[in-house]
């Protein structure tokens, strides 16, 4: 089953991987150059020839990764992989060590996060190893409603699971450096208490068995610094999310297998659903400051890749446990949400350029950084390639029209161009075909062979249509990052409730206009050659419609009921995913949630227990600005304060207490009418009914 791993083997595999990619790229480039043989070269052709190897190398890289992954699947897994080493034979006898499960949250859907923690807790209880695990909900939420709801959800969780002293909630007053700052804050405060931490995202869920196995893998392999699982996308309702989760199931596995096989101990870290050895993380992985002139841009945004590189630099291994089941996440519900996420990732990945040539970084880490960089840089390069190619074609057509010898177009070399075109298609679609082959044995779990096939075809059509839209937006994101420009972004839906058509028109309508104009120009100047560009223009023209339609949950659910885009977790839902859908907090009042910290005694008590209590007595006069805020809140109601002012009030324990007294004591004429409504609704407030006194109250 297993064979000892060695660093030299990892080096040899990387050499084969890079070598094969270079070979393919060089072959493609040779064909490209040959296709120009005997033709007059125009200025644009040189641009095309310059960009081609860069772009083709990315296609080749993906193809080789998929081949690696397929080979790994064919032989039933890598015998040299960490998760197949001899420690597995004595796995159950390996004692566990103290492990923290860290869940950083930022204005997330609280009930959903809470339910996921409850599911993981129960799953861990079943393993009998719950004593070794503590949960930390580390909040950076800057929305007062979310903050108060998170506190009540924590209280509810602890009560429900009898987990006081095992599940902790921490709210940072100053949310410095985003998620990485939040995790670093945990490490600084409590890191010494634990040998490992399992970092999750707010939408992550992991099974107890997997959590326990990760700890045992780390215990058995002291040289491992990070062990990343392959989270599967689940719980999609909208068509967009369902298509994403379907493709991640069908194609994701083969790529992560390939990545793991090529990278071995220099694997990726994706920032969540991974276990980390805390001591070396604290010692070596605090993120360095970027050497840029603008102090506001010195923080590393996409921390995970850099942390993996730093862990490798410190001499620890980073592995991907690609075939461990029981690791889940959720995808973005619609195109707009995905683009919003991509904008953040793009800015982060481009920052990684600084680490590409840094000293003492492992070759494997440099490769990861390069792949991440090119994931976004490719878009502007593709766009430039298409523009240059179109202008080149126009020059050629004009030259042909004016030329005395029309044969100059170079018909003899068109066979090279056709060969290149076919090779490109093969490289693009083979990974998808191989992915399909790997899931064929479980076709029944994907709705059966024919439904699986139809789903794959539809997914490919949708991908082809969305690719040009992503290309344009990624290009904008790259430009925005490089030039420091701002792109106006309209408000978007966060849940699976769908996008409005107006939103789609505002955000994507200009792409339709661009598509129509570009198609018109291409047809006018390029004649039949414009047909090559048609898939791109169609994607642009249909962008608003695509974004709108794919955000529909009913459409996604209808296709699901017909057995399309079905994934194994839907055929047989794992225990850890039960109850995670439909977790919206039903609102029985119209009042904002945060005012319950001022009105409801129980909500207030939970809040006051969480924020640091001032030692001084309530007789102490508050600062004049705080006193102004208090007065304004009473006179003008909760809506009079901006988000920052709400947080400021809530951080001050004495103010919260004072306001509670005043809001209940002052006569109606001195209170804003919304407070009277708040008092009347207080006993029915959703925090009380859903978290603090659920169910039992109704029965009482």
């Amino acid at each position: 089953m297993s064979a000892p791993f060695s660093e030299s083997m990892a080096g040899a595999r990387r050499t084969v991987f890079v070598g094969a990619s270079i070979f393919l790229t060089a072959s493609g480039f040779a064909l490209m150059v040959n296709s120009y043989t005997g033709q007059k070269m125009f200025g644009w052709d040189y641009v095309v020839l310059t960009l081609f190897p860069l772009l083709f190398s990315q296609i080749a890289l993906g193809f080789i990764l998929a081949l690696f992954g397929f080979f790994d699947w064919l032989r039933g897994g890598d015998p040299f992989h960490l998760m197949r080493q001899s420690w597995r034979e004595r796995e159950n006898s390996i004692p566990l060590a103290a492990t923290a499960i860290v869940v950083p949250v930022f204005n997330e859907e609280v009930a959903r996060v809470s339910q996921a923690i409850a599911n993981m807790w129960r799953s861990l209880e079943k393993t009998g190893e719950i004593d070794h695990f503590d949960f930390y909900v580390c909040s950076d939420s800057n929305n007062a409603d979310h903050w108060i709801e998170e506190e009540c959800a924590w209280m509810s969780l602890c009560q429900k699971l009898n987990a006081f002293g095992k599940i902790f909630y921490r709210k940072r007053r100053h949310a410095i450096n985003g998620k990485s700052g939040n995790v670093a804050d945990f490490c600084r405060r409590w890191g010494k208490r634990y040998r490992y931490m399992i970092v999750l995202d707010a939408d992550s869920v992991m099974s107890g068995t997997t959590l326990v196995r990760l700890v045992r893998a780390m215990e058995a392999n002291p040289s491992v610094g990070i062990l990343q699982t392959q989270p599967l996308m689940v719980l999609g309702n909208s068509l967009f999310r369902r298509v994403l989760q379907f493709s991640s199931h069908v194609y994701g596995g083969i790529f992560s297998r390939g990545c793991s096989m090529a990278q071995m101990s220099s694997g990726s870290y994706w920032g969540h659903n991974a276990i980390i050895r805390v001591a070396p993380f604290i010692e070596h992985c605090d993120l360095p400051i970027l050497p840029v002139p603008n102090p506001g841009k010195r923080h590393v945004l996409s921390h995970d890749t850099v942390e993996a590189a730093l862990m490798r630099r410190a001499g620890y291994e980073v592995w991907i446990a690609y075939d461990e089941p029981g690791s889940y996440e959720e995808g973005p519900p619609n195109l707009s949400d995905m683009l919003k996420r991509d904008r953040r990732w793009c800015a982060g990945n481009l920052q990684h350029f600084w680490f590409l040539f840094a000293r003492h970084i492992e070759m494997g880490s440099r490769l990861q950084i390069w792949i991440g960089l090119m994931a976004y840089l490719c878009s502007p390069l593709w766009l430039a390639f298409l523009i240059a190619g179109s202008f080149g074609a126009y020059d050629r057509i004009r030259f042909l029209t004016l030329s005395a010898d029309p044969e100059d177009l170079g018909a003899a070399t068109s066979s090279h161009a056709m060969a290149l075109f076919i090779i490109t298609l093969v490289l693009l679609f083979t990974p998808r075909l191989l992915g399909l082959l790997t899931v064929l044995p479980q076709a029944r779990q994907y709705g059966g062979f024919f439904r699986l096939l139809i789903s794959v075809i539809l997914e490919n059509v949708l991908s082809i249509l969305l690719a040009p839209v992503l290309m344009i937006f990624h290009t904008l994101f790259v430009l925005q990052t490089v030039l420091g420009l701002q792109i106006k972004w309209t408000t978007q839906n966060r849940a699976d409730t769908g996008l409005t058509f107006t939103h789609c028109l505002v955000l994507y309508g200009w792409l339709s206009i661009l598509g129509v104009l570009a198609q018109g120009l291409a047809f006018f100047y390029l004649d039949k050659a414009c047909l090559w560009l048609l898939p791109i223009f169609i994607g642009w023209i249909l962008a608003p419609l695509l974004a709108w339609v794919t955000s529909w949950s009913p459409l996604g659910m209808m296709l699901k009921s017909r057995g399309l885009f079905v994934t194994p977790e839907e055929s047989q839902t794992p225990q850890e995913l039960m109850g995670l859908e439909e977790n919206d907090l039903p609102s029985s009042t119209s009042s904002p949630l945060w005012i319950q910290a001022l009105l409801c005694p129980y909500v207030q008590a939970v809040h006051l227990s969480m924020v640091r209590q001032r030692s001084s007595s309530s007789d102490d006069a508050p600062s004049s600005s705080l006193a102004d805020l208090r007065e304004r809140l009473i006179r003008e109601g909760p809506q009079a304060l901006n988000p920052r002012e709400k947080l400021r009030l809530l951080w001050d324990a004495e103010t919260v207490f004072w306001l509670h007294q005043q809001l209940w004591t002052l006569p109606a004429r001195k209170l804003h009418p919304s407070w009277l409504r708040g008092q009347a609704d207080c006993a029915q407030n959703p925090l009380l009914l859903n978290y603090l006194i659920p169910q039992e109250r109704g029965s009482a």
């Binding site: 902790f168 400051i289 730093l310 600084w354 040539f357 129980y602």
Partner: protein, 190 residues
């Protein structure tokens, strides 16, 4: 406690007392007592007390009076039963409400809410509640290590740190103008 209230004195403002009563009931309801009759009993008791006080000082607003009485009663009841009088009022209330919440006393024995003396078993259950909000800190130092960005840093320092968009654009504009003029002058000769 549940004595029958005397009829309202003619000088009392009925609307003000109605408002005060309504406020008090809303306040008591927030404690989610499992027995609505207990809420009524407490409300009448407090109303009675407030009216007595109002007779001594008619200038006071009934709502203010009744709510002060209610809050004082809750606060002193919690302080008595938790024996934590040395704490600040806000701490006593926070600790007390959490104890109530965790002990579920308002559901299992609603009649004992604000009752004095509190039966010993309920008193103990209130005192035994403990809210652990976070483990003790165990501070570690996590600081970035020296990081050598290699040749890119030197290159960047020589270029981007000195890069000025405005002057670069001006220079580009200037040279575009120069070439434009040259082209206009000599295009006929090309």
């Amino acid at each position: 406690m549940a004595s029958i209230n005397p009829p309202p004195a003619p000088f009392e403002n009925q609307a003000a007392w109605n408002e005060a009563y309504e406020r008090l009931v809303h306040f008591l309801n927030t404690f989610a007592l499992g027995d609505s009759a207990q809420v009524s009993r407490l409300a009448l008791h407090l109303l009675d007390q407030a009216r007595q006080l109002h007779r001594n000082d008619t200038s006071r607003n009934p709502t203010v009076l009744i709510m002060e009485q209610a809050q004082k009663l809750v606060s002193s009841w919690l302080a008595t039963n938790l024996v934590e009088a040395d704490r600040s009022p806000s701490e006593i209330l926070a600790r007390g409400y959490v104890a109530l919440l965790l002990s579920r006393m308002f559901l299992v024995a609603p009649a004992s809410f604000l009752a004095s003396p509190l039966p010993e078993d309920l008193r103990q259950s209130l005192r035994q509640t403990l809210l652990i909000t976070g483990p003790n800190l165990n501070i570690s130092s996590m600081t970035p290590r020296h990081f050598d960005y290699g040749p890119m840093l030197g290159l960047a320092r020589q270029t981007w740190h000195r890069f000025d968009l405005k002057s670069t654009l001006l220079a580009l504009l200037f040279w575009a103008g120069v070439y434009g003029v040259l082209y206009a002058c000599f295009s006929n000769f090309l």
